[in-house]
Symmetry: D2
Subunit: 345 residues, 4 copies
């Protein structure tokens, strides 16, 4: 496999590089950057100083499309839409880690992203890359829209319920917490250590771009028609996402049914584990790994179900799932190159 | 004022000491400990080495009751119930920071605390010390049950709604996050740095002892009859509590009404500030101070209201509010000794 | 006292505000900013939302010099030199928290700061504000150069030795560690949470601007002529400085002499505490307080003495010491307004 | 390869498990524990829940010695000495991660460890496993004493100098900083999150057990006869060690010579990288990897050389180096199974 990473200087790019270096099918990796071409990657990331030198190359869509088997786009909003158009019908398959191609409806995209949407045809061609729930479509896709970090954690927790009709008429609230790497590498007031350590912040209450993504794919992959309430929080840690989700179902549930439906959903999936007996996971159980861990608690007093789902936002929430999708697209075993155990502690 | 702190070696005790040393009405502070009598406080807490030496004294209820104007009990479950009985009808007023006296109903207490309740008469005599909502009763109280940290943050956020009837028939969910000091000074796996840093944990889902406390006082102080869903989380920070609360009201709300009702509730309160314009607070805005900061966001798509309330768990959630209650009980201005600005950053 | 803080929007400024609000001699505080005039302070710092509103005012040296008793300059390099010239011979005394006036020798300043020095007369007039060692000069000063954070911790640890001649012919190495607030409020790669948490960095090895400041005042206040080796490190915490100092004396020392000389130096100082028995302090023992804590360990195998000195960089290392100097300049008790115990934990 | 890990429930054990699972020569891993036999590993470490179940087995030296090719001992002080005696002259080679076998001299051991030393014959047979400097002996060893975390970082930084005679007559000071995982999994006051976060502590000044280990092997592997000064510090992070070392050489050095001697020492070593141009490394450059990164700064004013050396204490400082030694002992390429890039950020 001959691989390209575009936008390699961001956290998504450097995480792709870390993981792809462990993938035995990968022969060649080329890094592209529109702002840092000519620079050696280890000048930006000294932790790579002892690894083979990667020189950042200029982005040349025509050439890239023929030179590579897969192109990962880890680019800012708007860029991947533009690039992907030029990459279609070439040798390379495209896996887009940005949000450009995740929403089908143009006006929904433009309302939430506050920018012009990618062309309709492109957005409609892109297959949503939530691997566990869309593998069949991913298998034959040329363009994959890799899910956002919050949607990955949330949808993996909710879809087993949606598919059993439990979310019909239910109320669903998502209280999510992320580490700071989700905000990228550019320094900003929000991720300034002095004000982030010993601090917990809520932000983007009901206005975060991942909200319509969750609604759309909860509908498409789970048949649920939900208006979600969604509060993201920034926790004083670098990695990890936890989605704590509150479901008030219209019908009564019991513990055993819930355990069984989650088991049924994920027992053959290498990257989703469901804790039993009401145990709920903590984010560090997935650190630096592609795992999603889920636990549920049923409250008999209120009939409400609490679902806790955790991932590493840079792995299962970005680079790891992108590679998982590559594996599916090329017929490799899903866990090739990304089966490493979490780093603990 | 002649003050006693019982259980002075815990975090609640040491925080009382820090704050009372700033209180100009306080002439004398005596520290008591049943396990460390004879030890000098600064041997346990070297940061006090340059301050006047406090020798920990043995707990002698008879004598203490006459020697002090106020006795703060910062003791483990069960201890303060036993002590308070012996302190009644003496000179000293009692402010209990433990959970022993916060619940009126014996069986509720015993179900959630899994231990024998304090005598009925004692629990009924104790006045719940949520200062902003119960000052009149606190004024004449001899025994105050100082609220828990989660209930303080949550009730201050919900009571303005409850008192307007907005919680009637509503569904209320509390997703709360705490720093580690809430777990006290005894080392344990749950607060072991190696596994707590870069980690976020949910725990005690719907089983935390503060849940019935919130339900009882939401009813008593706000007239709301609610079965709450409550998920506490442990965040990788030492201080701070955030309660993110989700209210699905039975009637329609509008932004202006909400702003007005919170303003009306708190405009004269020195220790509660309500952010306007949908801005929500972060925990560090209250660090080491007695402030509670509240913000709300109304989601027009779902009709749900999100309320974010933050405090420092050791100050407004424990020692600070206890002193605020002392001020009320003795007719001092509420903010005497506890008006310091938050430490930021 | 009528006070001005210039450059009030930085961490030094906001810390001055926090502490001066506790100072009973202070009647009035005016905040000045050259970049944010007209803005209310709490818009930049929401933790101040419940405190009296401070509007940032434009910097007008002529007027300010007459309007205030003290002007604290918490301004970027170069600014205070320029401002102070205009403030001389007015009503106001000036306390400069920047590095502009700390070095007497012009060429030393220009070599290390890589910018033009303040006028000679001004630099020579400025009194170095290491309170414990220079109180007599500070008492009659009109302009005080408030020490840097690293020099404060280091000099307080070394001067008792210097004054006994123990540093004569000795080798002295300073390995210092700071929290991130020392780097100020502007976001940068170096203080980006994602790369700062779980990380420890050395920086500016032997090139930090505080090095010549330490050498100059070790000489002036302690008579020692030393070429220091100095490595600052950035630790993953917001506040705190530890200087671990290694002294290889030319003569033999003994434990008792060392204890006695430190005791003699600091027994009457309210803000320096010396641990006995070889115990060394940790930074949190001084958190949010004006204390400096010192401990020493004598290694009989090598004859070397290790001195550990800790402070809160924003308090004793900046705003707190500035107020301590104000107290000396105006004849107040040194600890007025800054006697608060550390926040622990 | 058939592998045993004894003491598998500690951090060293679980890190061995993580890394060995990536090693393609490893067919079988058995975990032993004397305190938790019968327990499934994922009950203690839920992050392993989705990986193959490892049942902890009782320690049976006779059987183990024949059943395995390598036995890693990740056991408390005293245990491995006792166990290793029973494992000699069996099929298995032993790699001991404890400190029992690292010191040759009995009285030195007993002075610093304050316990009875292992039998002389055993300690003398054990080969010190600092791979880069002792590979030839390790190749034929049956028992390897895996180095401590501080000695690994320090010796890798100092040995290139020692071997060129630069430490002869020099003064050497080691100021080292570690993350909390070095203190193991048992909760204690020292690693209690509430008091460890936002804190930096010095401890064990000149009394740490790793001090004689550094002196002994600086002598054996580098010919230097040094009495070291050594201050370990605990930094608020889970992983990482930085040794900042100060060398005052008796002769004059120049920048070019230093660069060349470090390059010469490590250019063929896969796990040591030397930064050029005075750049010094930060701990996160090695996070979760087996790398050691070194940088040096020469101070022309004083003639002193500052050497900064960083590792991940659980990998190159424990489990990773142990596997590197296994690779050498069995003739595999040194980086088999441990070539992963650091996790960053």
């Amino acid at each position: 496999m001959n691989i390209a990473i575009v936008g390699a200087t961001g956290y998504g790019g450097v995480e792709l590089l870390r993981l792809l270096n462990q993938h035995y099918k990968v022969e060649n990796i080329t890094l592209y950057s529109s702002s840092q071409e000519g620079t050696a990657m280890h000048e930006l990331y000294p932790h790579l100083a002892s690894f083979p030198t990667y020189q950042l190359e200029a982005v040349t869509p025509e050439k890239m499309g023929e030179a590579h088997d897969v192109i990962f786009l880890s680019t800012p909003p708007g860029v991947s839409a533009e690039l992907t158009v030029k990459l279609l019908n070439k040798r390379a398959k495209v896996i887009d880690l940005s949000g450009d191609l995740r929403l089908e409806n143009q006006s929904v995209y433009e309302t939430w992203y506050k920018r012009t949407a990618a062309p309709d045809a492109l957005r409609q061609q892109a297959v949503y890359g939530l691997t566990e729930w869309n593998a069949l479509s991913i298998q034959s896709a040329n363009v994959v829209a890799n899910p956002g970090c919050y949607p990955t954690a949330s949808l993996l927790g909710l879809l087993p319920l949606a598919n059993e009709g439990i979310l019909d008429g239910a109320s669903v609230i998502i209280d999510a917490k992320t580490g700071t790497t989700g905000a990228g590498r550019s320094p900003s007031a929000v991720t300034h250590f002095s004000e982030t350590n010993e601090n917990l912040k809520a932000y983007g209450v009901n206005t975060h771009k991942h909200l319509p993504e969750m609604e759309e794919h909860l509908h498409k992959l789970g048949g649920a028609d939900q208006k979600l309430t969604f509060t993201p929080h920034l926790a004083p840690m670098a990695r990890g996402i936890m989605a704590t989700m509150y479901v008030q179902p219209s019908q009564e549930l019991n513990r055993k049914d819930i355990d069984e439906l989650y088991q049924a959903a994920y027992q053959n999936e290498p990257f989703v584990h469901v804790h039993q007996d009401g145990r709920v996971p903590s984010t560090k159980e997935t650190y630096a790994s592609n795992m999603c861990m889920i636990g549920t608690a049923l409250d008999e007093r209120t009939g409400r179900l609490t679902v806790v789902s955790v991932i590493d936002n840079l792995v299962k929430g970005a680079a790891g799932q992108a590679i998982q999708n590559m594996n599916v697209m090329f017929g490799f075993s899903q866990n090739t190159g990304i089966q490493q155990a979490p780093v603990f502690p």
